[in-house]
Symmetry: C2
Subunit: 205 residues, 2 copies
């Protein structure tokens, strides 16, 4: 346990930070560190990118299960997204379907094997840890994370993703809702899915 004994050199350890945002600097680092720890590609069946893609296609609604939508979500190029999708199709976790109304587009469905695979998602540990947090902490965390994500996406000029239930395009009914963007009716379960055309409702910002 015990190591060496050094008594000077202290000035070496004074880092030049330059600004007074040390606390938030810690937080940003912490978020990145936490995410990396949670994904931990080591010794799992899939890579981090493949897990993210599989998760996305399992959560995206029927307008958003395309390679392009995933590339926007994942903040990467269509070329890269195409490769990831291809690898998952080869593994039998995704299945291609033709889009009847647009011959260019490819719709992707998570196969049963894909759903089974998602049960071993390395993110499970983080989910359990978060679920174990006290209720009030968890609530605040959720709000803070959503705000930070929305703000950062706006700053970076990238699209925000969210569920139709929170989308300003949607007018909610009793059992269904009408989406102005896609001009279609959505069922309750659909409204809990990701949408590429998500537009956050105006909350206090």
């Amino acid at each position: 346990m015990a190591r060496l004994r050094i008594t000077c050199l202290a000035s070496m350890c004074i880092r030049k930070r330059g600004n007074g945002t040390n606390m938030t600097q810690d937080m940003a680092d912490l978020i990145v560190h936490l995410a990396r720890l949670a994904q931990n590609t080591g010794r799992t069946e899939l890579t981090a990118a493949q897990w993210t893609a599989l998760r996305f296609f399992a959560r995206a609604n029927r307008f958003s299960r395309t390679p392009s939508a995933f590339s926007e979500f994942h903040a990467t190029t269509r070329g890269t997204a195409s490769q990831t999708v291809k690898s998952l199709v080869t593994l039998g976790l995704l299945q291609r379907q033709n889009n009847a109304s647009d011959a260019r587009s490819t719709l992707l469905e998570v196969t049963q094997a894909g759903h089974d695979m998602l049960c071993h998602d390395p993110l499970g540990d983080l989910r359990r840890v978060l679920a174990a947090l006290p209720e009030d902490l968890r609530q605040t965390l959720s709000v803070a994370l959503q705000r930070a994500t929305t703000d950062l996406a706006r700053l970076r000029q990238v699209p925000t993703f969210g569920t139709c239930a929170d989308c300003s395009h949607c007018k909610e009914g009793t059992d269904t809702a009408y989406c102005h963007c896609t001009e279609s009716m959505l069922t309750k379960p659909e409204m809990a899915s990701f949408c590429i055309d998500f537009q956050p409702t105006n909350r206090a910002s």
Copy 2:
């Protein structure tokens, strides 16, 4: 804007989640997404791994600025860490120093060019976004993230990182503190640095 009009297929969109942790599932996904967005390796001078390494060596105390410590922090292997360090040394952002008390070990120092580079850290956007959050949200976020990180690290059996100021090995004095682990005195600035031997103090868990 408007897309196609589909009226059926709704049942296709009912995903089999299997468990009742939908809310925390969203949160875990959100953390990963936020971290990815924040790092955004695209069109920056360094890769994500290089940025993380540079940040680590700028924040780690004098017992922790080694390739091994970084590999543990980054949850990777010593081999991979060695490559990242090598690339940063080649770029002139890190500098190797001999450890007088252990000829196997290499100490790394961030050069002035390295500190300058850190001013362009892509994490800056996230830091600004977090800094703009309301005070109470930010406070709670900080607490929740630290708890989640500590809990996840324990679950994964990986070491936790933190500053000496929060470490149970340290007995604090007025201007200095004594670290039981390294058997050495620490100055105030040093106590704000990362330590590989961090052991969280017993807070309500």
